[in-house]
């Protein structure tokens, strides 16, 4: 880190320590809320949700061959295939947001052009595996599912519109070229890799199985047996790891899991503290009064949805921090529709990454992309809010 940034951090900390009125009851209460929310995350979400999710993310980055996915973005690939792959491949390609932009630039300059590239740019950060898991766990499976499905549809539609708008100038300056790299040799058959991932996801799903009323017999039975199911699956996973993987690969897996954890966890917990301080836990209040939130993004009006998507588009969310912030907002009275609008516009766009995108595709296309994301997020938010509020 450069010294001037360290100095800036010192300066801000000093100003905060100097000016924040710590003796006031509201501030004291907000600090209390921040740590209560942190404890809530530590107790409810770390052991059963985040840790398994980090292992899955680590496994994805080591065992999923990127070459096999990216070849569908090449200049010679079929267009329909390009769009479908672009819209869903974010789940497995972009485990952290820092990989999305370089991949986007690569796909755009070498591959199938502006359409699939923007489709990937949009879907990547929104549907990465960690984000979906945590959204579903903390904000409820409805919002998690809406986020995933919304992001996939958005990606295709935005990609197609971008293609229609700009395909003419595309033709002129694009040379058909493909990716240079040879496909790596798979160390094990595809069905083994698939089964291995399926077992890991199943473990995550079953140990987080929610309680349901005893009338829903099957669901309730699964809930009662969830620890046994989890343990059995864990045994299967252990057998697979022991039989199918080399020691070297397992070392890489643990290592890359650790790298993700190191990168994401501190930011996530900082986000939790900030969200708790500003907005409080659901049902409690932080320093920002709930009426403000209700006035700005409560209900399901056009204004509320538009405000949520514009704010989401401008704000920078470090990977996963959008979840505690939304939890705070929802608890303070944000509507379900605006929440989805923010989730759909938020992770894909932020001021800093708009600048990077602009340097790759130019001002006009960047503005079109931003406008499309904001408009579609607003509309989708309204539709979702209308049906699920």
């Amino acid at each position: 880190m450069k010294d001037k940034w360290i100095f800036l951090i010192f300066l801000l900390t000093f100003l905060a320590a100097y000016f924040i009125p710590f003796h006031q009851a509201t501030v004291q209460n907000a600090i209390n809320e921040a740590f209560m929310l942190l404890q809530d995350y530590a107790r409810e979400h770390v052991l059963l949700c985040l840790i398994p999710a980090f292992f899955i993310a680590g496994a994805i980055s080591v065992f999923v061959s990127k070459a096999s996915v990216i070849k569908y973005f090449g200049a010679k690939a079929k267009k329909i295939l390009s769009y479908s792959i672009a819209s869903v491949s974010g789940t497995i390609l972009a485990v952290c947001s820092c990989t999305v932009l370089p991949l986007f630039a690569g796909i755009y300059t070498r591959g199938a052009g502006i359409g699939p590239a923007t489709a990937f740019l949009y879907s990547g950060p929104a549907i990465n595996v960690l984000a979906i898991i945590l959204t579903a766990k903390v904000l409820g499976y409805k919002l998690g599912l809406a986020r995933a499905i919304g992001a996939i549809f958005f990606a295709v539609i935005i990609g197609l519109i971008m293609h229609l708008l700009f395909s003419k100038e595309e033709e002129k300056n694009r040379e058909a070229s493909d990716f240079a790299e040879e496909e790596e040799k798979e160390p094990r058959p595809l069905w083994k890799t698939t089964l291995y991932f399926a077992v890991m996801v199943a473990i995550l799903v079953f140990i987080n199985w929610g309680k349901s009323s005893p009338e829903l017999k099957v669901w309730y039975f699964i809930y009662q047996a969830k620890w046994y199911i989890g343990a059995a699956l864990l045994a299967v996973l252990a057998w697979m790891i022991f039989r199918w993987f080399k020691k070297e690969e397992l070392k890489e897996w643990t290592f890359s899991t650790w790298v993700f954890t190191k990168q994401i966890l501190p930011l996530l917990f900082a986000g939790v503290l900030v969200a708790g301080f500003l907005l409080g836990r659901p049902g409690h209040e932080g320093v920002i009064p709930s009426e403000w939130i209700v006035r700005l993004v409560g209900g399901n009006s056009l204004g509320a949805n538009l405000f949520a998507s514009v704010a989401g588009a401008l704000m920078y969310f470090a990977t996963l921090t959008e979840v505690p912030i939304l939890q705070g907002l929802l608890g303070a009275g944000m509507g379900q529709g605006p929440a989805l609008a923010l989730l759909l516009a938020g992770p894909a766009l932020s001021l800093p990454n708009m600048l990077v995108i602009r340097s790759v595709i130019g001002t006009k296309k960047t503005l079109a992309f931003i406008a499309l994301v904001v408009i579609m997020a607003t509309i989708t938010g309204m539709i979702y809010g209308h049906f699920f509020a």
Binding site: S61, K66, C98, A105, G106, E252, S256, V259, V360
Partner: protein, 79 residues
């Protein structure tokens, strides 16, 4: 020898650079090692994602953190 580590500066890219420098030290080989952080320059290399390792203009690994043994092997190949 010219070694380029491509990546916008995330921890995974720094790990690749660290491993490369360690490998060079173990083999006692000198090389020009540089980070390429600019997104546009990265995309000129035709890589499938970052972090990527390029030795003498050849893409050796992309989208993953290669093992120290692999890096040593590639360095020896390019000597």
């Amino acid at each position: 020898m010219e070694i380029r580590v491509l990546g916008p500066g995330c921890p995974r890219c720094q790990e690749v650079k660290k491993r490369t420098i360690n490998a060079l030290a173990e083999l006692n080989v000198g090389a020009d090692v540089q980070n390429v952080k600019d997104i546009k320059k990265i995309s000129e290399y035709k890589v499938l994602g970052t972090p990527a390792l390029v030795i003498n203009g050849k893409v050796k690994a992309s989208g993953r953190i290669p093992s120290p043994e692999d890096i040593k092997k590639w360095i020896q190949e390019e000597m």
